[in-house]
Amino acid sequence: MFLELRDLHVKYGNVEALHGINVHVDEGEIVTILGANGAGKTTTLMSISGLVQPSQGGVYFKGKALHEMPSHAVVREGITQSPEGRRVFGTLTVLENLNLGAFTSNDKARIRKTRDWIFELFPRLLERKDQLAGTLSGGEQQMLAIGRALMGDPKVLLLDEPSLGLAPILVKSIFETVRAINKTGMTVVLVEQNARAALKLATRGYVLEVGRVVMEDSAANLLANTDVQDAYLGGSGH
């Protein structure tokens, strides 16, 4: 098994946010996790990255127990994240932000190659490389957050709400970029509220409701499912 969440429970104080979810991701897939606000999508990604600890169950990557590792070791295993709200380092330049994404690597040639590739994916970042990240527009910050996560040369890229607050045209371009990234062989886990766009892109999907997986299917089937359409696709989808 490539990446697997097995009976994952997470508690914040006395409140349980995830009630034992099972999710698996195969190599090369784009898996999307859908759900309303508070369903536990961000908590799921944060437990993969090791920023929240499970109270029961665990996260396994190629047989290794990620939940027993500190968060920086998870990055070294090849799992990086573009977090909800972008969380770029505002008083650092675009270039400094990108370089921090490669913090765990010492391979200068590889880092340069990845950086050139990111500037190809997002030419705007190259134009603004010496600008402070806090002065970028929302869309540019999103590009930076994704680029920064790519700088770690991950095997699995976790994307949390990359479309949040962006103009539709930008959303389209970011999703196309995600597709291009996936074509290079990188596995992607995509958390989204924009369910239609996410399902069009993904191989498979999970639907979370208040901390439980309530549906799991191929993206095509979920897109055609009337329950999903009613709850997440704004009606019948016609």
């Binding site: 990055v75 380092f89 505002g90 008083t91 650092l92 921090l100 770690g152």
Partner: protein
């Protein structure tokens, strides 16, 4: 004019010391949002370790010239850095997830512990630095006499500040420190070991504070176990003046406070020296609570 120049250079020398100590406050505040109240005592420990080393080396006949002073400074930096590292492990790390007030109480406790430890080891009387170490030359700059030791102090503190600035702005580890100060969670997502960054900050700050302690010993010739209180408070004022959490701010704040204090003592009254420094603190908190270079509000201690 001569009086003004004397006070200006004196203010810069003392301000350099404030700045070096202030850097420790501001860097720790940057990554942990905690005022390390024991920092002034680490400065005292540095001063006393310097005293011990100078005396011991002096007896052995090892200390001669600038090489010996440099050796002592480097040794003090290393030792105080080690104490800072242990302080964080023992007094702050176990309380990381507790309320901020617990950490403040722990900091005050550590301060009392250090101050009393120094008193018990060295005695409550002040100690005198061996007076044959510090250069007694007086330079003549454009007809004005300036003690060489003063020039050396200004140069040493500026040199250390530039080195620290270069380190935080131009190196990978420096960028990791800045990133950790901005957003610890995001720093973790970059693969930064935030605990190691915090340990490092608790070594750099105290190392600079320890050097400042030795410099005070060399400049004034004597040290006592309560010196960390006043210097700590002044340096804290300097850190607030520049904008707490902001590294260049601590440097500017320290130098500025030293100069304001020296000129105030000269032209108003020496008795008002401390009052002027704290008046600066009160004014900055009223007029510009973010400090001169700060963006963030220091809301609570």
């Amino acid at each position: 004019m001569e009086e003004f120049f004397q006070q200006l250079t004196n203010g810069l020398a003392v301000g350099g010391i404030y700045a070096l100590i202030a850097l420790g406050y501001t860097m720790v505040y940057g990554v942990l949002k905690l005022i390390n109240f024991a920092h002034g005592d680490l400065f005292t420990i540095g001063a006393y370790l310097g005293f011990t080393l100078f005396t011991a080396f002096g007896l052995a006949g090892w200390v001669s010239g600038p090489g010996g002073v440099l050796l002592v400074l480097v040794m003090v930096m290393g030792l105080v850095a080690l104490i800072g590292f242990l302080l964080e492990r023992v007094a702050y790390r176990p309380l990381r997830s507790s309320s901020r007030l617990s950490a403040v109480v722990s900091a005050l406790g550590a301060s009392i512990f250090f101050q009393n430890a120094v008193m018990l080891i060295y005695g409550a009387k002040f100690q005198v630095y061996p007076n044959d170490i510090r250069p007694s030359y007086v330079l003549s700059i454009m007809g004005i006499d300036v003690p060489l030791v003063r020039i050396m102090m200004i140069a040493a503190s500026l040199g250390l500040m530039l080195a620290l600035y270069w380190f935080t702005q131009r190196t990978r580890i420096g960028a990791a420190i800045r990133a950790t100060a901005i957003d610890q969670g995001a720093a973790k997502l970059m693969g930064i070991d935030v605990n190691r960054v915090i340990s490092l900050v608790f070594m750099i700050g105290p190392a600079l504070g320890g050097v400042a302690g030795v410099m005070v010993g060399l400049y004034y010739g004597q040290v006592d176990f309560t010196m960390g209180w006043v210097y700590g408070l002044k340096a804290f004022t300097a850190a607030i003046l520049g904008g707490i959490g902001n590294i260049p701010g601590a440097m500017v704040g320290g130098l500025l406070l030293g100069v304001i204090e020296a000129l105030g003592a000269a032209y108003i009254s020496i008795a008002w020296k401390d009052a002027i420094a704290f008046l600066v603190l009160i004014l900055i908190l009223i007029i510009r609570p973010t400090g001169l270079l700060g963006e963030r509000v220091a809301d609570k201690i």
